[in-house]
Symmetry: C2
Subunit: 435 residues, 2 copies
């Protein structure tokens, strides 16, 4: 594809038209080979933000992304291999819990993860808070751990989906991130190239997520499922609330500690539990379990300690210093953040807490962060503890300001807004209501 | 301005916001110094195409363009110096006629022109069809000819408005031409840097122009006048019809011949005459003439032969071989294009004629092209001549196809849709109605 052809494609998208599949393939290949430059690609991306992408276009773009690099596949004897993706949130420790939990139920999980993005945490950063753990696994090592332990969490290799990598960087610089089609193509291409046969997407929605309103999140969920099915893989997407931290702990080591304690059964936040059960069920159903069998397997894996054991085994297989997980603890005693007045917790500035925790970790190390002690809908007395800050008490005022207190109880919100299954059907769910 | 600040400005424009004047200045300066790259600029331009530019933004962008290079100014004793710009059309010979005509009325015209763009002709290309004529004049030479002869038509120097030059090339490649704000900033910045104190814009509208519908053309006309006034220069914009060629001759030398014959009074197409009179009046009014004095001066300049003389003097001052203008003639005898049936000429595919004429000139030299012999609304008999093709009779069928014949008379259209004056007031004009 040359400069002039690309110009016509940009004009077509600018004018609301559809770019045909061969053209998407051609323009991505030409971009990767340098025949099309960043300027034309940036103009096309901005036209996509405004004009949107039709379903066939998103599919074609995703295929072009996948074809730009290597594609993993697991040996048949490991089948079914599943994967899970979160669109990013605060205190979203679910991957650390669900991955070993599902593996303990007998289904292999091959999870490719990313780094922290903006105010949200990154699973790789969390894992690396455990001394010795490596996430830059070679494909052969990744496959071996999946085979032997049942699960592994690794960074995506540079050789998978290089086109997405380049275009993602361009989108970031050119303010063209906010397009459901572009977001979906980026997410799904990475999951398809990762080789899993069944994928569960957790689309976060709320003031701590990239999607703020449920309709947009539901639309993304539907596109993710349809796209994934187009590649012959099973898919489920859940839309879950992110108007407050999912778990209670925000940081890197602090979130590993929460996952460890959760799996050991010593501390299970109800919101985190509800989302983890939803995701684990969906992953198991995607691997052929019926709901009853899935629930029984999850219950058994949690109660028997098998899930906790699997977590430790995975970390050790990825290089953890023996005992490092068990010994992990927060930095110092922490400083309490207290309510200045009594009332209902009416809202929590989730993004602000995420940003504050990232600053604490950056300044004071992986064991710094925030643990919240109050949830939206809770009644607190003046002076009651809202959270604990680890690492730097200078953060107390900002954490305090993140909790809005009012005299009236806030309206209840569902925790799981919707679930979109492989059949393409979305149905409202409200497994746990906030108080 | 750095990468991250630019990213925020792109996002602001994407979301329909306004970029403040200092930011426009900063981003253009940073782009010219290489701190901001084509990719970010292209994304911003596409966001401008969709979100539009507010009046203050267009003003700020135009100022930033002007400041990117040199700005000409003429000595006070030459004042008032006027200029004229056409948005581009087919058989638009008006500049070749109006420039010497106004000079012959005693007002100096310093016209900076461009090359052919798309299907439209370029005044520089036409002038250069006269043996010896140069248009790449140094500023000092340009000023000298304006002083001594009263008028000159030159190519814009590379040193004027370099930011527009770079961004125009980028817009062309990235399909971001179609934004009234961007179009206006590009046009007005060049006129301001050219040094004229009073500027007349001819915004072409119809199937042979870049603007197809009158409301968009009127909006552009209004923006051009307001912007120009913002720089303390007087401005008038007229919106004129381009649903058929303006003159009868389409080419380069053919258009010079039409201008020569028009000025000598041997052949004056009524449409071309009407538009030239409108533009000449507007230029003279912009130089302080009242309408009565303007009309008398124009009438005298045409009747006395002063305008024709001035045209020859300008061409000679710009290097024309003596006698070259007088000797200019079409290539060969030409081949007639005849009507296949009788009826009314109901429409003319103006862009197709422009493209065909450009191909003829490219293939057969400057004296090739098309001269039309029928106008919209004319009744023709089967076999009657519609046009003459010079250079290659292979073009006959396509020229024939450009004339649509029907049994019903087409509706009348105004030739001059509107005139926007310095007072910002637009009023409908219909000096000449088509039959």
């Amino acid at each position: 594809m040359d400069d002039v052809q690309m110009q016509h494609l940009i004009a077509a998208k600018r004018d609301g038209g559809r770019i045909a599949a061969p053209q998407w393939a051609g323009l991505i290949a030409s971009y990767m080979s340098g025949r099309i430059d960043d300027a034309q690609m940036a103009a096309l991306l901005m036209a996509c933000v405004f004009s949107g992408l039709q379903a066939e276009e998103t599919q074609a773009l995703t295929e072009a992304f996948v074809r730009s690099g290597e594609v993993l596949s697991f040996p048949t004897e490991l089948s079914p291999v599943v994967d899970k993706h979160s669109s990013g949130g605060v205190a979203d420790t679910a991957s650390l819990i669900v991955v070993p939990l599902v593996a303990a139920c007998g289904v292999r999980v091959a999870k490719l993860s990313g780094r922290a993005l903006g105010h949200t945490g990154g699973t790789l950063d969390k894992l690396e808070a455990v001394a010795g753990v490596r996430t830059d696994l070679e494909p052969a090592t990744f496959e071996r751990i999946v085979r032997d332990v049942g699960c592994a969490i690794a960074a995506q290799s540079e050789r998978l989906v290089p086109a997405d990598k380049r275009i993602y960087a361009l989108r970031d610089r050119t303010a063209t991130v906010s397009s459901i089609g572009l977001i979906a193509a980026s997410i799904v291409s990475k999951k398809i190239a990762g080789g899993a046969e069944s994928i569960v997407y957790d689309v976060k929605c709320g003031n701590g997520a990239f999607m703020h309103d449920p309709p947009a999140a539901l639309e993304l969920a539907q596109v993710l499922v349809t796209l994934t099915e187009g590649f012959g893989r099973a898919a489920t997407a859940v839309v879950t609330d992110m108007n407050e931290p999912l778990g209670t702990s925000i940081g890197t080591a602090l979130e590993v500690i929460e996952a460890r304690d959760f799996l050991q059964g010593t501390r299970r936040d109800p919101r985190l539990l509800a989302v983890c059960l939803t995701l684990a069920r969906a992953l198991l159903e995607g691997a052929g379990f019926d709901l009853e069998r899935a629930d029984a397997a999850v219950d058994n894996a949690l109660r028997s300690g098998a899930a906790a054991e699997r977590f430790g085994a995975m970390l050790e297989a990825q290089g953890a210093v023996p005992g490092a997980l068990a010994e992990l603890e927060p930095l110092g005693a922490g400083v309490s953040v207290r309510a200045l007045r009594g009332g209902f917790v009416s809202s929590i500035a989730t993004t602000a807490l995420g940003e504050q925790a990232r600053r604490l970790v950056a300044a004071c190390g992986s064991r710094a962060g925030i643990v919240i002690a109050a949830r939206i809908g809770d009644t607190v007395a003046a002076g009651q503890r809202l959270a604990v800050v680890y690492g730097d008490e200078g953060a107390v005022a900002e954490v305090q300001a993140a909790f809005a207190l009012s005299d009236e109880a806030p309206a209840a919100r569902p925790l799981v807004y919707a679930e979109v299954t492989s059949a393409g059907k979305a149905f409202a769910r409200s497994t746990v209501e906030t108080k």
